[in-house]
Chain length 204, copies 2
């Protein structure tokens, strides 16, 4: 059997996708991709997480940035993760982007993405601010339901991160919102074990 | 003395900026940024290297991608590195982008960049194809002269990479163009020691 074709994967989202706060400069994205490469899978990682990005910001930019990175003749894939910045305090019913708008943005993004490339969604992350995190936890469940309806595999990470002493401790020792290497390693491990991701890595 | 303000740095360029081929998924960019963070410098790394990008491709996209990542209230910086793809076989006088066009593209990019943000340039890399590398070595010298004229610090990396047994060996063991962890670590070390980069890290 020939080896599986090389993958080029764009990861779109916010600071948690960027890996902000990680002294190893890998984040969960870099760790998961490195694990795949070490396991023999040829993949190219494009990390397109931007600090403070909401669902509206990702909606506005993802297609242009993806088109420049995923030429049609290559096996390109898309992974999205956003939501916590939408839940921060702002002027849309008290938050930066109201939940019904986040869900509409996510549906537009994912429905368009699915028509072009295999697509995965990772849920939003806690930022260790109780009021924001309460809203983000609810949003994560709503995004899970949306993804189920659209047929996009969804990985819930909110509880994994919020329930981890490593994550919470590193946030407190860091900038108050982002973990460091230990927290990101935990999420990378969960992502690495996710059956939807394993199917990408194992398929020819 | 207060700690230096956090930096947000966009690295624009080609596959060598992306770190293609590195099983650690860091490349020289990730390694240099991780070294800076471990040294106590708070920085956010945006890796915007794209495989097969020429100077013309970078010219067309860098401003939009930088604007989305570097809000005016933060200390944003720019690093560019391109040129080897321009020197590959193509239809502009036998190459993808003729040298006089590369220099014009680079001048447009760097002159615009300098007006907005502190800017550095890293020279083009060998891809271990003798005909391409011959052209790239010449282009690297011309880019160095251009940068001297514009006042942009320039790091020559062509000879470092081409003269390294680690780099050349990893290219041969890999896809024939890109090194792996050892080659990228060598360039990261040269970048880390570069006085122009040290001034960014050490300045308050």
């Amino acid at each position: 059997m020939p080896p599986p074709a090389p993958l080029r994967i764009c990861f779109f989202g916010d600071s948690m996708v960027n890996g902000t706060g990680d002294d190893a400069c890998l984040g969960w994205v870099g760790r998961a991709c490195a694990a795949a490469r070490r396991g023999g899978r040829d993949l190219t990682c494009y990390n397109l997480g931007i600090r403070r990005d909401t669902s509206a910001d990702v909606l506005a930019r993802w297609q242009g940035e993806a088109d420049r990175r995923l030429p049609p003749e290559h096996d390109g894939r898309l992974v999205f993760s956003f939501g916590a910045n939408d839940c921060c305090e702002g002027e849309d019913a008290g938050v930066r982007v109201a939940p019904h708008r986040v869900l509409a943005n996510a549906e537009t993004i994912l429905a368009t993405a699915l028509k072009r490339r295999p697509t995965l969604m990772v849920g939003p992350f806690p930022i260790c601010d109780p009021a924001v995190d309460r809203r983000t936890a609810l949003l994560s469940a709503e995004l899970a339901a949306l993804c189920a309806r659209l047929g996009v595999p969804f990985l819930e990470v909110f509880a994994i991160a919020a329930g981890s002493a490593a994550w919470v401790g590193e946030v407190a020792a860091g900038d108050g919102a982002h973990p460091n290497a230990g927290g990101y390693a935990l999420v990378a491990q969960a992502f690495d074990l996710w059956p939807a991701w394993r199917r990408w890595l194992d398929a020819a």
